[in-house]
Symmetry: C2
Subunit: 372 residues, 2 copies
């Protein structure tokens, strides 16, 4: 993770009271934009990234030199057409690509904050990002959109700032993190903390970082992003560059080799402490509880038009949990559309080339941009 000095960022001077009770100010928020903000400032879309995403939505990510995470969806002539829309994305606070997070240098000790960084929430993330919208002097976004943890931010954004967006597209998410999802995140955290190099968060640099633990955490998460059927179709029991089993603990099967690769490339682009903090924020997310058990109250102030999307094979944030959001929106009298997309690609579908998904978003945006 070099080149971090070059990422765009604003410093947010205005104090922000975090859910943990602490107040922060003068903190950096790194961001990227695509397309041009028009004169009426009515063509802006705020995209929220997921757990391991970042501000580099599309084009070549300058940190990884790979395509941005939403390259299928966002870009010139893409479904979210940056010839038309101005897309903004910020690295969440807690992240590791330039925003205020565990890698931020403490001005007093001159060391990384590490686990002195406060435990933050989805609410804190969204409250930090509204400053970016103010920075661009955008009164009302055309849309807020995001999948997975990005979808949670969409829901929280609308609840906190009901008049700051015309439309909202939460994708493959939930209004309240389930026990299974907490369990899976805890597994990842324990894998990181089990690494002798984690050292209670106080690893000084990438030479002694808890790469093995972070890699195991990533492997665990990666399995949950794919469907059983998708894995079977893509990998099945295919062997890795060999004709028969080797009777060893090498990667006999392609799926093993694939997972190990996913783990090893991840540690080059992500920070273990950020992984701890961001998963914690997801686990703490419970919009139902925030609104005293009545989710529809979260949406009753908003006039936004909603479009909820889920995927058939997503077992991490299944259709049933997305439908609970639809039900609450309906109970709030909101304008809401919902589609469950057929896909074998599991939770990852929102990041992949799933034509029905891409087309649905394009149609929703284009139709509403004409009339709203």
């Amino acid at each position: 993770m070099n080149n971090l000095d070059k990422v765009k960022k604003i410093v947010i001077e205005k104090p922000l009271k975090l859910d943990c009770g602490k107040t922060i100010s003068n903190f950096p928020l790194a961001y990227e934009t695509y397309g041009k903000l028009n004169e009426k400032k009515d063509n802006a879309i705020l995209a929220f990234h997921a757990l391991t995403g970042d501000q580099f939505v599309t084009g070549i990510n300058p940190i990884t030199n790979k395509n941005g995470w939403w390259s299928y969806l966002v870009g010139p002539d893409k479904p979210v057409d940056t010839n038309k829309f101005f897309v903004i994305c910020a690295n969440v606070i807690g992240g590791c690509i330039g925003s205020y997070g565990p890698n931020t240098i403490d001005p007093i000790t001159k060391k990384k904050l590490a686990t002195n960084f406060p435990v933050i929430t989805i609410n804190d993330m969204v409250n930090a990002q509204i400053n970016l919208i103010d920075f661009f002097k955008i009164d009302k976004l055309f849309s807020v959109m995001g999948g997975s943890m990005g979808g949670m931010q969409v829901l929280q954004f609308v609840a906190n700032f009901p008049n700051r967006t015309k439309t909202a597209i939460p994708i493959a998410c939930t209004a309240s993190h389930s026990a299974q999802n907490i369990a899976l995140n805890e597994l990842g955290r324990q894998a990181i903390m089990a690494d002798v190099n984690w050292n209670k968060g106080d690893y000084l640099n990438s030479e002694c970082s808890p790469d093995k633990g972070l890699s195991v955490a990533r492997m665990a998460a990666h399995i949950t992003y794919l469907s059983k059927k998708g894995l079977q179709e893509k990998f099945g029991r295919k062997l890795q560059e060999r004709d028969d089993l080797k009777f060893s603990f090498d990667a006999d099967f392609q799926i093993e080799s694939y997972l190990r690769h996913q783990g090893s490339v991840f540690v080059d682009r992500f920070d273990a402490n950020s992984y701890l903090y961001i998963t914690r924020a997801m686990d703490y997310f419970d919009l139902v509880k925030q609104y005293n058990g009545n989710l529809s109250n979260a949406f009753k102030e908003s006039k936004a038009k909603f479009f909820i999307i889920s995927f058939t094979s997503d077992w991490l944030y299944p259709t049933s949990e997305n439908k609970e959001i639809v039900i609450a929106l309906n109970a709030a009298g909101a304008n809401v559309g919902f589609i469950e997309i057929n896909s074998d690609k599991g939770h990852d579908s929102f990041l992949l080339d799933v034509p029905e998904f891409l087309k649905s978003i394009k149609n929703f945006l284009d139709a509403n941009y004409k009339i709203l």
Copy 2:
């Protein structure tokens, strides 16, 4: 794991050629029995244990001082009534409760075999255990039964020894380990190997064993044994002995505390190298491939009566995979019954107090014991 000297075992002198090519002989097989073998020797049931099980099927396990893993099912006046049946269970080779495994002392080096232990298969496990049936001079078992990896052993047993059992009960299993299941096992192995104490398998004793890695592996596996719905109903977002979130990485949620507990108690009773070897054996299991792509050929020599059981909420070995066994048995002209049991308890259902499951087994055994 003390008291291992006291467990019952036979030493198998007869050479056994393993699938890896190596031949072993004079190796220990630890076992336990319940009930009495009758004079006709027609009341014996061979139970096969799952990944982390052992030979202590019921009553108090002398190693853990807890109830045996199949205490709901097996015992006096239980569904598998040991007043009537003679139940035998062996610790699988590769295991750590007395049978030939990575903890076996190499007679030459006087050190544990550790990763010098050969990679074994389900086929090897079953071929080792037939010696125990010979030891008891049992010509034909009344039944072979087991869940999960125990079920795989049931299938392999019938394929290898078609005339050695009258009935067969594979529960919650598969004929061919899926990509997702390989992935989940690989995750566990990588967690163990990531532990600095694993030391390429050469940890000398329990003071420097890879407990953290093994604990993470157990947590990962444990999540897969339970259903999303079961977890939600049992834990939901309940907090652990606190009124509100603590904004730390302590176990805020009960599910976190529960998982950590599952991990920590597991390392007291299980060996990390055994975990590697046994998961490898499961991943290598592919009875379809063994019979050149036609699973029904595995069963065509057997006259056994089969009873296949799956559970609605088992996503690890779902009903669809159990049905593939039923289809193959039908294609082989076998006598086969099948039931899918309604349960929210996930894969673990076969170990738990699930009345419909327990009753089904009792009815199957009792009805057939009269007539076969």
